[in-house]
Symmetry: D2
Subunit: 356 residues, 4 copies
Amino acid sequence: MSVPVAVVGASGYTGAEALRLLAQHPKVHVAAAYARRAAGSRLADVFPQFDGVPSVGELAIEAFDADAVASKAEIAFVGLPHGQSASAVAALHQRGVLAIDLSADFRLRDPDVYARWYGSDEQPAHPAPELIARAVYGLPERYRDSLRSAEIVACPGCYPTSAILPIAPLLDAGLVETSGLIVDAKTGVSGAGRGASASVHFSEIGEGVRAYKVAGRHRHTPEMAQELSAAAGQPVTLLFTPHLLPMVRGILACVYARPTDPSRSADDYREALTEAYAGEPFVSVLPAGRTPDTAHVRGSNRAHVAVEVDADSGFVLAMAAIDNLVKGSSGQAVQCMNLARGWSETTGLESGGLFP
Amino acid sequence: MSVPVAVVGASGYTGAEALRLLAQHPKVHVAAAYARRAAGSRLADVFPQFDGVPSVGELAIEAFDADAVASKAEIAFVGLPHGQSASAVAALHQRGVLAIDLSADFRLRDPDVYARWYGSDEQPAHPAPELIARAVYGLPERYRDSLRSAEIVACPGCYPTSAILPIAPLLDAGLVETSGLIVDAKTGVSGAGRGASASVHFSEIGEGVRAYKVAGRHRHTPEMAQELSAAAGQPVTLLFTPHLLPMVRGILACVYARPTDPSRSADDYREALTEAYAGEPFVSVLPAGRTPDTAHVRGSNRAHVAVEVDADSGFVLAMAAIDNLVKGSSGQAVQCMNLARGWSETTGLESGGLFP
Amino acid sequence: MSVPVAVVGASGYTGAEALRLLAQHPKVHVAAAYARRAAGSRLADVFPQFDGVPSVGELAIEAFDADAVASKAEIAFVGLPHGQSASAVAALHQRGVLAIDLSADFRLRDPDVYARWYGSDEQPAHPAPELIARAVYGLPERYRDSLRSAEIVACPGCYPTSAILPIAPLLDAGLVETSGLIVDAKTGVSGAGRGASASVHFSEIGEGVRAYKVAGRHRHTPEMAQELSAAAGQPVTLLFTPHLLPMVRGILACVYARPTDPSRSADDYREALTEAYAGEPFVSVLPAGRTPDTAHVRGSNRAHVAVEVDADSGFVLAMAAIDNLVKGSSGQAVQCMNLARGWSETTGLESGGLFP
Amino acid sequence: MSVPVAVVGASGYTGAEALRLLAQHPKVHVAAAYARRAAGSRLADVFPQFDGVPSVGELAIEAFDADAVASKAEIAFVGLPHGQSASAVAALHQRGVLAIDLSADFRLRDPDVYARWYGSDEQPAHPAPELIARAVYGLPERYRDSLRSAEIVACPGCYPTSAILPIAPLLDAGLVETSGLIVDAKTGVSGAGRGASASVHFSEIGEGVRAYKVAGRHRHTPEMAQELSAAAGQPVTLLFTPHLLPMVRGILACVYARPTDPSRSADDYREALTEAYAGEPFVSVLPAGRTPDTAHVRGSNRAHVAVEVDADSGFVLAMAAIDNLVKGSSGQAVQCMNLARGWSETTGLESGGLFP
């Protein structure tokens, strides 16, 4: 029997991507879609790619109401702005709905860290700190077992996903130093969301590349630090440099780390990754000589990872390419749903990248 | 039981797109892939988007052999260069394989027209003229019944698909004149295929738009003329202007036609389209005020069509947006396969566009 | 002696392009820059491409004041929103400043037509109708003599420039019919200006093409009609279809027209264009077999035009590629300034396109 | 009196960019253009952006001959493939022509290093080792005095220029460690040259980003090491990761370095850069909070540099944005010519970036 799911925050890009994936998922159907400002519209009017798509295209968008969601759906994907998401998740959780949160609200384990990075004058502290411990960080490659019984899933940020996948196994295995990690990541514009602003104007972005929120200013920094520290078993220090590129989707992360034993070769690190990801349905460790390309994972839930060593400087270079809206957000969320419901983990996510 | 299919010409873009769609099709599995120069490689080495994708990623590419195909597959998608494709299709057809030809070889009903547009010094005439009559033009919206019993499917060109869909119903109904049709179409670069050349160099294409093969020089012209004449019930005259745009996928066609009765309104034409496409699973007729956008159909088999009338000049403007590799090629081919095999027409093709 | 010029509306794209061209013009220097909301900023803070550029980079942006402009500059480029521009131009003209208006305010000769297309509830009529007759339409290829003594220059719209250049000489010579002209034009995003909106979001534009304001809804339609009617010596009827492409700069216009004498060849039309543009410093008529590409005129004041005839339909296809911000706006404005001041027409505009 | 210059290798992108800049340079005129395969063509047929551009558009391309160059020009810009360039430069130098080499042939001071990185079976050693010592590395910000009397200029690579500018002054001043530098650089496709190949196919590049020639495999690595070691006064070790982005022009380099004194602030480093570049006509040190964007330097000879410190990891992050074809190649070459001829260094290079 098909399980009813709801998408809350259906007018944003992560909401739309969740809808796209859920519409083709054989175990569920989209029972309702919520978006405050778009309430009253057909979904296909807000996102014309759904025009004529059975079951979702004609869906009428509603204003969010936790009771209504609970009456219609067993599972909810919540893609609201941080702060708002936590409240919605709390209300849904209370009503027994499996809440899969696409926002940042339940990613950080420490409410003080959350408050420092996400607090505002109106809402200085976490809105539902008592639920943080009940949320599972939605990275199946690292928290698969916990996800099988999750009641709240905190889907990872796109950048953290791209950084954790290639380097965490090397930290796990003690192969690289825990201090002075550098994450130099490059992303497409869709990660900024659908809101109009000068910084996403085509004419300002086209034919240009720039770093932004450098030197510890990007909110995904503490999330990376938390997860990489967990992998290392001790606090890591890291520098994160995000870049904006003239493309719509994709993140390429290059993580630079110093080896704990300089005598190891690229093959050693590649073997460590290969072993770590043996059996993983969505992670490909590329062979020597190949580098990940975001064009090859566009639209798919796959991650391509690779590792090399630089003879001159000694640095280990671990790389990953993902689609920020799929493995970096809504696809990974579906993967978590599959786990939480006991379905095959790849259900609805099998397809390869849309290339070219 | 899953039906085995083969893809011949698996190293090109239309071949790859067929593989992507077939890999997620619930009724078939890809049993073999063929490509002369890439023979011996894993498919994922030629197209990294398939790395790790179950069933297709590890497929070993073989050199084409009709007997081998017939021993492994019931259906073959053939995406070879014109001229070569006809011979392969003939060999496969003889061996009882349902041949779905992605090339131009069986699109034109008249072998003389074929010879004029596609003949070469080495091969001046059609290589298998006796089969032309047995091939069905693979546009389900116009040849659905014939496709149900097709043994050879001649998949339409991408440009003709984009032009026929918005204007043929108006010709059918006698609403527009049959002389002086103008098709001004804009396409992404993937339509030119994967071969390297100066004309598809990123630096030559980026930030530029140009028309090419104008004034009756493009080979899709006689195909459009054939099909639009069939719709009109009399010969049409038309001008086709293709354009190359700095994007990978998509075709937007604008067809300009003179009305047979100038008193009709845009609503009249829209109603004609709406009626013609009532029940069509992949064609959306957009409401007044909306125009098709290729970004909204990327990766999907859908066509968005619209029509307007210009008060000043009297012209009818009919538009369509498709993905040239999906509805313009391999997706439509899968749709035809579904018909030919008696499956639900939308099987494996339900998903909406990958947007953004 | 260097002549002081001012740019009013310096925070928009046409203002910035005027500044770029004026900064390298040997006869003038930028004495002041005006922009209401950006007043108080350094120009390089608003447009970082001017960082370190002598004379303009450190310019302090001021709030517009006609007396201040008149005290500092002999010439002003006015790139304000329509409606506002007319008032500024009137004030500057009264103070003896040569006003070169980049807006639409003085392009239409008939104030009633202006009111119909540009009027608003707040400002239903033209704000300075008495000056319309004193403004010269700033297309040197057609109004060179008048421009030599112009006091107000009404710079043409980008689309009209791209449409008039290839077809007007054929109308002049009576070679094409005056009814049923079709202008199918494709433009980059910069033409929409610097204001943020959903319609210029990179993620909404990338990898997509769409027509907009079709069937007589775009404000450049009456301007084209006016100028093409002037060329033809009688009213023309035309259909204008603008398209938005995933690129920053450039317009490619394809104009379709019926020949008055079907026996003429492409060479005949090409000869007519060649003759019309003999001696023109910025218009290249391309030889047979070549088509214009916006990538080849990016950043330059040049127009590439070409013409072909379609044997099947009989249509004449006249094409032009320009940079919408240069020949389509600020470069043409500088060309007009050169004429109005008696300088060599190409001063400061000699450079070829920035390609690749 | 205008000085005659020649461009050798006029059919490539760096040759074309040299032609663009020389055509608008007030002290020189292009007397001849050379390109083997394109010999016999008009320049405008090979590069349509020069169509109608006075003096260069109608230039007939010739096959290279050193005597012919010497009879026509005092200065030659040589943009041939490495190996070939050295021979041409030697022949021109012998004939008294100022040779400005855009290739890699005279960049490396050590012929053994050259042989290791650029040697081939046909030409294992440097073709003109005796001239290496006479060539001056064409980075005016570091070798201005030597350039004033240069007879051969070895123009720096695009990546080295982008890496040296932001970090060399910090190495000069002993502010950062000399070991373990990381250069993570992102470039547009034009850096790969005009030759057609799968790796520059629009459909392969569009919507994707990837690293290539990672971990010490890119030929610009030894050049960076040479120049940064010269700055540091001791050998540096460095890791260079180049990336290919879906844009035509531009390089953004991020250089990561460890501070020698962790107590220093970003302001300290910024001050060091500001002091180093005081009076430099083409380098802007951006204020705190702003990051370089390649879109802002496109088409201009300017470099935007910035520096930040990461509190958590301690790393210094120094960044630069340049146009790879201008400051990274032909613009810098013109700057060197200006110095070598005793002209004002900015002659012909004053313009700001083409933005948007």
